[in-house]
Symmetry: C2
Subunit: 215 residues, 2 copies
């Protein structure tokens, strides 16, 4: 599939792009800074080989070429980014991986005004937008590595077809992916991340994640 990574020059974007390119997908790296996005695309091409399709550009042009869009921006840029791309996002599947952290207290749950970033995305874009919330619990260090990732991914949406597509793409990243219910459940998925960050620090762990049992 053709996947745009909005805010794709960050660490999460790097790891997802690498894994999706190796799985045979096309990746468009988006950034507010088109030159940075192009440089990241060149870097990725150097890692995966010249036969893989990866391009870089500003966020709007990256989205315009994609079937699936991954929102990977810090929460303080989230609302403005979604509002600014409203026209381009229409009709596309949007995988929102945003966690509404409130630095410096990133290990304490902070609910945003709309209770979850993904719910805010849906509100901004309207009822027909195909918003999926997912990938909140995987550390960028794991995503950017070559090793197997010991973390399950929970994904939720009010659009069943979009959710099934997202679950398939997440499996292509090399992880188990589970249907986690309606988009309202994004509150639970997003708010678990500061808890995992706390546990990682408290126990001196390394990118603490979760596995489901009994399923």
């Amino acid at each position: 599939m053709k996947i745009a990574l909005v805010g794709g020059t960050g660490k999460e974007g790097h790891g997802m792009a690498l894994r999706w390119l190796r799985a045979g997908h096309e990746v468009m790296i988006g950034s507010r800074d088109a030159a940075r996005a192009s440089a990241k695309a060149d870097e990725l091409r150097g890692l995966v080989g010249p036969d893989k399709k990866v391009l870089g550009g500003d966020n709007a042009s990256a989205v315009a070429q994609a079937e699936v869009v991954v929102l990977s921006v810090p929460y303080n840029a989230h609302t403005a980014t979604v509002q600014g791309l409203k026209a381009e996002l229409a009709g596309r599947i949007i995988i929102d991986i945003t966690v509404p952290l409130q630095p410096p207290a990133v290990r304490r749950v902070h609910l945003p005004p709309g209770q979850a970033a993904a719910l805010e995305t849906q509100t901004i874009l309207g009822d027909t937008a195909k918003v999926v919330a997912a990938l909140h619990h995987v550390s960028s260090a794991h995503l950017g590595s070559d090793h197997e990732i010991e973390c399950d991914v929970l994904a939720c949406s009010d659009d069943e077809a979009a959710l099934e597509t997202a679950l398939g793409l997440i499996r292509d990243l090399g992880m188990r992916a589970f249907h986690a219910g309606p988009l309202a459940n994004a509150v639970a998925l997003e708010s678990l991340t500061p808890v995992l960050l706390h546990i990682t620090k408290h126990y001196k762990g390394s990118g603490v994640g979760i596995r489901l049992t009994g399923v």
Copy 2:
């Protein structure tokens, strides 16, 4: 330790009481109906043997005899229960296992007015109350069984000493227990339960739980 189970005649109470009695703790079963609590205590004594200490009574008298109190009531009785026991709960360690489910939509996240039941408990009882939120993700079927429970427990509190005591008691139930940060993080712990209920139903699982990885 002396542990009171408020609302202890339910399925969760049954399993916790069995496991704590076998670990050598004293258990007071509390209920609005003292006769039901006594009957449950008799049933438990029949299961664990006459040398174990288990009594039943109304909630207030159960709490009055305990060092640690477990709140195990449906969310619709939660506020009234905490308000009604305010005097008895003072100074005691309170493990609040309440999940603010909103039947019949129990597989969809619903945040209560105070964002989390445990935060509502703390608000009712005041800043000095020793409230720990924990044990939201373990199904009563697993608790009531003899087998090893494949589920980690996350516990959070603003009182470090109370939290350490709770972590020890949870380990005595036969599970790994982790320090999950300040009580504000109860929002994440409580809201994950409807997600696990959804996954259990969607995948026809059996009491789906979580294990931490990377720790």
